[in-house]
Symmetry: C2
């Protein structure tokens, strides 16, 4: 596609010389900028793997877990021919953080941006990575992310450009959590009455590697855990970060956990945060970093500690009472042996419910000077109340009392072609009742399912107030990291209790709010976001905790779909759009 294809067509077709000249010029520009298409051929299939030294079935790509890392330069086009080699399951892959300007059908969300790729079929994802940063990709159908379908996507700056910070080397750390029970089993439990919750993860993984029922750091603890016996070649052998003393390293850290909010720290080393979700931030130093599912960060570390030692890198659970041992990795100062255990025990994770610590960290994240600023005013404000509810006895999560159940026909096609029976045509509620007490359990916990869409006017500025509340159990309000597809948003602020426009509006940060694609709501709090609906497509906005989304915790935005001239047939060749395309020739 792109310039080359268009030009080839133009050159073949009767065209004015001017056009041909323009084309040649465009081709030159394209190649002079150094951007190119990067092709990948991937097979998705289950493999036996031992992420935490316990063998299990994992959803892999090309026989690997995690999937291969994609590395590209800003401006490149990434092309992935994805073949589904599963036996009975459909599959899609979402490119988390990539905005998919002009390619909303490549966003990889089942029921929203495309039909699932059925077994034996190949779908080509083709999209531009327009912005340098730390991203990742993952399954976005059922709970296939939890099944292991994920990997890293790193976009470097264009040739000739520089990052606004210096580093001598870099490492890529993809964090996840792991259960021994299959996701199929988990899904049945989540859809059962009474609910069977998935429980806490058995293991935390760093680049798909963790240890179950033993500890790499057992020698420091008084606990009963035994020292892990690793031969070094196992799937579960820890990631080792080999560094030289007195250098600066960039750690790219992303979390694709199904559930766990994490805190990451490195023994003795401060971390300077420089990037969040593919956007530069004003650098700030921390001892530890909170990272929620769906987020990514770059931090710089300086290897200025005693070079005769190695140091632990540790990830532990926040926001829920931790029942899962820390995930560990080793910062190995060369020429020490990588297997030399660090002199001190791994850094301790801050208390799981020390929300002041978490909020303090979140509030430090501010845009780097020169970053795009938010419009001063919003055109539409949507307030989204997050509650846990019941429907016919089944436990659900709901937004403004509607629990999302996705339709079989993807919105992108059904909106484009005005298929009114494909989903509920009324817009979901813009807000919730004024007298709702977010500090108490829902008085009437019953809710409804729904699949309506928030249709956003093209190029308008939308404010979202994410409002947290008490869950079904008294005195419980959970953390939810909300992720927006197709856009970055500015995080205008976090607050306590119910958002009060009169009081809270003026506290919002319109000066240097960070651009992100994921933001958390703290227990009993609110988070204010602003974005411009400038990307024609149908976009999920949802809690990135996989079982929460499975239980209905999401909404769908759509804008400017009428501006899309041609949606590839293969993206919408199912359900009611498939039927429509078959009964009338729409080519």
């Amino acid at each position: 596609m792109g310039t080359k294809t268009t030009c080839r067509r133009l050159i073949k077709a009767p065209a004015s010389q001017m056009l041909v000249v323009a084309c040649i010029f465009m081709l030159l520009v394209e190649s002079s900028a150094g951007s190119k298409a990067r092709h990948f051929k991937w097979d998705v299939e289950y493999v036996f793997w031992s992420p935490d030294c316990i063998e299990n079935v994992v959803m892999g790509i090309n026989g690997q877990f995690p999937g291969p890392t994609i590395r590209a330069k800003a401006g490149d086009t990434v092309v992935i021919d994805l073949t589904n080699k599963l036996h009975t399951e459909g599959v899609v892959i979402h490119w988390h953080g990539i905005r998919q300007f002009g390619s909303p059908w490549a966003d990889g969300t089942a029921s929203i941006s495309q039909c699932v790729i059925n077994p034996g079929e190949t779908f080509t994802y083709r999209f531009k990575v327009d912005k340098a940063g730390t991203y990742f990709y993952h399954g976005h159908y059922g709970m296939q992310r939890s099944a292991g379908l994920y990997g890293s996507l790193v976009v470097d700056v264009e040739d000739g450009r520089k990052e606004p910070f210096h580093y001598d080397g870099e490492f890529n750390l993809l964090l996840s959590d792991w259960w021994h029970e299959s996701v199929h089993h988990q899904e049945v439990g989540l859809s059962s009455n009474p609910l069977r919750w998935i429980g806490e993860p058995q293991t935390l993984l760093i680049n798909g590697r963790g240890q179950y029922n033993c500890s790499l750091a057992a020698r420091y603890s008084n606990s009963s855990s035994s020292q892990c016996q690793l031969r070094g070649s196992e799937h579960c052998a820890p990631e080792i970060l080999h560094v030289l003393p007195n250098k600066i390293y960039r750690l790219r850290i992303a979390s694709t956990t199904a559930l766990a909010s994490l805190n990451l720290a490195i023994g003795n080393h401060k971390m300077v945060v420089v990037e969040a979700d593919g956007n530069y931030v004003t650098p700030f130093a921390v001892d530890d970093l909170d990272i929620y599912s769906g987020e990514s960060y770059s931090v710089l570390i300086t290897t200025n500690q005693d070079p005769s030692n190695n140091y632990w890198l540790s990830a532990g659970v926040r926001g829920r009472e931790p029942k899962t041992p820390q995930g560990l990795s080793v910062l190995n100062y060369r020429p020490n042996s990588a297997s030399k255990l660090p002199a001190s025990s791994p850094p301790t994770t801050p208390a799981w419910n020390d929300y002041a610590h978490s909020k303090s960290f979140s509030n430090k994240i501010l845009a780097l000077m020169g970053s795009p600023k938010p419009p001063k005013n919003y055109d539409r404000r949507i307030t989204l109340l997050n509650t846990q509810n019941k429907i016919n006895g089944y436990t659900k999560w709901a937004i403004n009392n509607v629990s999302l159940t996705l339709p079989p026909t993807p919105y992108l096609g059904s909106i484009k072609y005005g298929l009114r029976h494909a989903f509920q045509q009324n817009s979901p509620p813009e807000s919730f009742s004024n007298d709702y007490d977010v500090m108490k359990q829902p008085v009437n916990p019953n809710t409804t399912t729904g699949n309506g869409v928030y249709i956003l006017a093209m190029n308008t500025t939308v404010d979202i107030i994410l409002q947290n509340a008490n869950a079904l159990t008294a005195n419980v309000s959970e953390i939810h990291p909300w992720h927006l597809h197709g856009h970055d948003f500015w995080v205008l602020g976090y607050g306590e209790g119910k958002f009060d426009p009169k009081k809270d509006e003026k506290k919002l940060n319109l000066k240097n709010p960070p651009l992100r694609n994921t933001a958390v709501i703290f227990p009993y709090g609110w988070t204010a976001l602003r974005f411009v609906a400038d990307n024609p497509g149908a976009w999920a906005f949802h809690c990135h905790i996989e079982p929460h989304l499975h239980m209905g915790m999401g909404v769908v935005f759509a804008e400017g779909i009428q501006h899309l001239t041609k949606i590839p047939q293969e993206a919408i060749a199912c359900g009611l759009t498939g039927k429509m395309l078959m009964t009338a020739n729409h080519n």
Copy 2:
């Protein structure tokens, strides 16, 4: 569909009075025959269930396992609106033994007769049950049958007709085998190099009920198994057959095992076999009955034993060294308590490798006088060598050295529309090398995958010689029950060693061979079948052992597809047929 719909259309359309009169007449005939449409609304979804007292995830229908029993009368039209409520898996259901005359798109075979039904979608199966008998239904995608997707389908004789035997009551027994490991896990093992075999089943189930790790009959045995403690209301509580003394009962017995060949016996009671696979046979009495996966039988028992006792009904493994305890059920002579244990231990299953016993049983099965006779001559003979092979180190089963891998586009549509890229256009081999030694391991064990089709000329008579051989291991040749879709075949005979036309042809039974849809090949033997290719459609013919089919042990026949005037779009709205229907308006 059928007469009513056609008539409605005719009556609406400008039509001659003659036609209208004819229609009214046909409607009268239809209703006077008492045949009707029987509607079912089914949801397929995973449920927690304890088939053998151990909780697991089972593929159920409308929250039940096994699925609901369909009961209809010969001539009825069965209509099932099947909704897929699974989260990420497609689904189809095959109506085992129903020939689907005029409705080949309702045969329920993924990649052959239809596209899979994707999550959230509904597909309507509509087909005529034209012949009274004992049938069943089951998933036919991946290994979803093993996951529990099955149930019974019983067709009674038309009103005013009688069965050619008398009975006072009847029971329906659906036999299956059960593993604790999920089928997803099993599938990965079967697709791995080296092969990880699924092993023997943990439990045998009768109507979805069995007991793991305890025995209903422990009190009789010297073994270490403990007596099962059942409260009677569990999923795994045994099926009780409540009978009155001195009556005749019909037991409808069908086997949908994934692997196990079974032998069924009832303490002290002889069984008179009267039906096999929906066809009447010359009655014969046996003490025990061999039943292979894919087969069904009706037997008559007379409750003429000591009425103060109850009696065990027992199913045990044949053909493989049994590592699975017998499945048990109780014949409860009323008014004895159902929980009164029988006076003697359950009947002993004949030695697993007593093939003489098995062959003797198979050879007793002969058509009832008056049954359709086979054509005297065949038009085409296809000899199918069954071997275990390797492909790039992966263990497969192959037929004439081709291991079947199904294409994503169903044959029914791709053949109809001449889509030559949908599958290999060359016909698979008609036979195998003359000098192949079926008694030895394959000299060159390597084989190829393939998805070619045997195109049969319409209304020709086809002979199939199923030829067994040595597997990859020396001195091993396994039992394979082959099942044909869309037709019954006559079983002309069984023989030892390699089929030799000169010697063996004259031994074939053309006088009263039984009509069946499933027939076994014994170790190192051959089985000769004959059928008339009289049913336009694409039809699977395969080993009914689920992991064997998964490993490639099947072929596809197709005949008369050009005679099909309209294949419902929803059956072929995927893959290359879907694409074709979208690029050209074929309505």
